[in-house]
Every structure is written in C-alpha cells, then in structure tokens.
Symmetry: D2
Subunit: 150 residues, 4 copies
C-alpha cells in the first residue's frame, strides 16, 4: 500500500467511520507495507465477562474492515492515479457483498491483529481471506469476504 493510499485509508476507516472509532481500531503497515489492523481489549468490546473474551461481533467487524481495506487497495494498485480524489472515488464504490467468519478459539488477549490476503482482485468483485490473532499469536478467527470494488 503506497503512502497516499494509506493516508486515505486511515482517514476513511479509522477517523471518519463512527463505528471504527467505537471499536478503536488502528490501521497500520507491516515491514512489507501490507496493511493490518490492531485493536485492544476494551471493556465495551467484551462478549462474556466471566471468560473475558471479545464479542463475536467485534471479531467479524474487524475482519470485515481489514478485508475491505485489502480489497480496495488491490484495485487502486492496478490503476494510475495522481490525485487523492481518484483514490477516494474508489472508496466510494467499495462495499461488502458477503462474508464468512469462523470463530476458531476464544477471543482472549490484551490486543489483537487482523491481517488478510487477496484471493482475487477483479474489476467488479474482489475476494479476501482474513485472520485475527491475539498478542500470543493464537489464531482466534478466520474470515472470507467478497467485496464490490467497481
């Protein structure tokens, strides 16, 4: 993900989306400049106080968001753009068509990382596989999302 796109992604997915602020997600780039999301364990995201685990809805939300970011980045990286407006235009066309989430292990941890990998980048539709791991590198959930991108 290049720097211009990253700036737009942070603005749209982190700052300007009320529910993202509710979740408190941070969009970050790893050493290969691939985007990932970091979310902290917070009281209002808990699904079960006794077990102290994230709610399933938080997990599916975060996987949906990282999938969307990877989907739109795949499309943008194949087009020529100079302007911020060109990037933003692609964001406006983005939407989740459907998603599957597999809840593999209890969402226990201090913080969580969501990553993804594009399976297909189309002109209209993209497919992204995603994962959520905790701070001990335990795989908590896996997802697959289909996104409208054009």
């Amino acid at each position: 993900m290049d720097a211009k796109v990253y700036e737009c992604v942070k603005e749209v997915f982190e700052t300007n989306t009320p529910f993202s602020r509710n979740l408190g997600i941070k969009v970050l780039l790893d050493g290969s400049l691939n985007p990932y999301i970091r979310v902290e364990r917070q009281d209002h995201l808990i699904g079960n106080y006794i077990q102290d685990i994230l709610h399933g809805g938080v997990i599916s939300s975060v996987l949906d968001i990282i999938g969307a970011i990877i989907a739109v980045d795949g499309v943008i990286s194949r087009m020529k753009y100079d302007q911020r407006a060109d990037i933003m235009k692609k964001f406006e066309k983005l939407g989740t068509i459907d998603m599957r989430v597999d809840y593999l292990r209890p969402g226990r941890g201090v913080s969580f990382i969501a990553t993804g990998e594009a399976m297909r980048t189309g002109n209209k539709v993209s497919v992204v596989r995603t994962k959520l791991k905790n701070d001990e590198n335990t795989l908590i959930a896996a997802g697959t999302g289909t996104y409208m991108v054009g």
Copy 2:
C-alpha cells in the same frame, strides 16, 4: 420461548454482555412468543456518515446474537427444566462456530429488527437463518449461523 427462558436471555444477552449494551439491543418477543432483536440507529453504530448507514459489523453482530438466542432456545425447549440453573447451564455451552452474512441493501433507517428461524436443532450443533429489516420492512441483510449448543 417461555417466560423463564426469556428472562435469562434478557439478562445474559442484553444486560450482562458489554458489547450488547454498546449496540443497545433489546430482545423482544413477538405475538407467537418468538424472540427478535430491536436496535436503533445511533451515531456510534454508523459506518458511513454521508450515507448515514449502519456499519456492516453492527449488522453481523446483531444477526449473530439473534441466531445464538434462537439456537439456544431450540435446545432448551426440547429438555425438561425447572430451575434457572438448568437454563443457564445451556447458555454456557453456547458458541458461534461460523456465520455467513449477505449485505443486501444499505442499512438505512431509524430502527432495525433482527429475526431468525432454526433450520436444524441438534444435540451438539444447530443452524439458524437470520434476517435484518429496517422500520420500512426493507430487507437489509440475511445471515446463516452454525452454533455449538451441547
């Protein structure tokens, strides 16, 4: 859903689950005593300010919760129980295995209703199909969840 189970459902899914309080869901019973969820449009649940629509993560969260309630009710309704503790024991075994969500139309509205129908009630695994509609009866999303129930 009988009155004792409903009382437990409200306690567990509405009151005692922090993320449910974050979403502000209400679990209600319709005229046939089938459970459904009502959630209001609130600023912190919005995914897109310009379009003023619910975030996809809110939609998947609500569909997951109504599916879980219907799954656990199916199992409880097949067993004999007198005690609140018997009901609560079933709740402890409940967990979402996986879920699919289809985002059909923008989540626009003042309030939203989530309903569901059990496709299979097993001793170990149940499957529930769910729907989210807005206050104009527009179908916003459809889901299918597989739940561990025993």
Copy 3:
C-alpha cells in the same frame, strides 16, 4: 418464469451442460411458475453405500444450479426481451461468485427437490437462498449463493 425463459433454461441447464446430465437433474415449474429442480437417487451420486445417502457434492451442485436459475430469471424478468438471443445473452454473463451450504440431515430418499428464493436481484450481483428436501419433505440442506448476473 415465462415460457420462453423456461425453454432456454431447460436447454442450457439440463441438456447442454454435461455435468447436469451426469447428475440427471430436471428443471420443472411449480403451480406458481417458480422453477425447481428434481433429482433422483442414483448409484453414481451416492456418498456412502452403507448409509445410502447422496454425496455432499451432489447436494451443493444441485443447490448451486437452482440458485443460478433463480438469479438469472430475476434479472431477465426485469428487462424487456423479445428474442431468444436476449435471454441467452444474460445466461452468458451468469456465474457463481460464492456459495454456502449447510448439510442439515443425511441425504436419504428416492428423489429430491431443490427450490430457492431471491433475497436480492441486482444489476450486477444477485443473492439466492436455496433448500433441498427429499420425497418425505425432510429438509436435507440449505444454501446461499451470490451470483454475477450483469
């Protein structure tokens, strides 16, 4: 489904598709002219000889096909067409994007009926929920498919 479309559907999905002939499916119309598929128990479709049940792959195949038929019919019914060629053009654009299948009960029976219901008919993407029942009206499987239609 009108008569012209039905004729094309039979030709494409029953006669001209080798794997459909392998499965031996028949596309039929019910009293409301809604399409459904009938498939017979046949030795080469069995997944388990001892239990004498359909293979899961047969079930997912039949659900995929009825979903596709309903998806394409939804799009055609919204457009004006006189010519067979207009209908056939829509068939060429048809493709399954993704599908979920829930295997609810063993696929035991003499014959099976697959039906479906469109959740959304879009210009590009349609979503259809499907069901497979046996000749005793037992629900064997449920599916949801997302189809490219334009």
Copy 4:
C-alpha cells in the same frame, strides 16, 4: 498422514464412494506426506462446453472431500491407534457441517489439484481452508469447511 491412515483414506474416499469414482479423484501425498486430490478434466465434469470449464459443483465437491480428509486426519493424528478399526471408527463419525466456496477464476485446465490446511482441529468440530489450482498453478477456487469429527 501416516501410511495406515492413507490406506484407509484411499479405500474410503477413492474406491468405496460412488460419487468419488464418478469424479475420478485420486488422493495423493506430497513430499511432506500432506494429502491432496488430483482430478482430471473429463467430459462429464464440464459445466460449459463453449468455455470448456469444470462445473462449479465439481469444484465444490472436490474441495469438500479434501477438507474432510484433512479434518479426519487431524483428529486421528492426535489419538493413539494400532488397529485399522480405530481409524475406520473415526471415519464413520465424519461429516460436513457446512462449507463456503469462492469461485475465483474459470475452471480451465487439463488437471486440477485440491489442497487444504486445518485452521482448527477440535474434539468435535474441525475447520479446514482449501484451494483448487489447475495444472498451470492458477488458483481456481478457495473454500472453507466445518466438519463434525467426534
């Protein structure tokens, strides 16, 4: 996968399953002894003569089978067994609960390889992600299956 299990897998999934013989699948082991499936392009598996591509139902069938093999192998590899009967007992408990398939690219090729990776190996339920590639290493489809294993 150890040699005893592989022998049972070949017997059950290749030889004794009528629909597997219909598809003509071969279960093989790679250099790390991980199982995979090979299936050849055959006329009766074609979904579209003009495009000469595999039917989607063939793709979902093959992904379901490799997922099931990996799921059952995961469970067997964690238990002690001496006898063929112990292995076979696990096979009898195996069943697909649900599956998602993403059809990423047309199923064009001379032969196809299906592989998979367990996301979770449970005592009751396992989750496996699968892929189908053609002989040019093009990713044709991706799947996720949830399997009853105990």
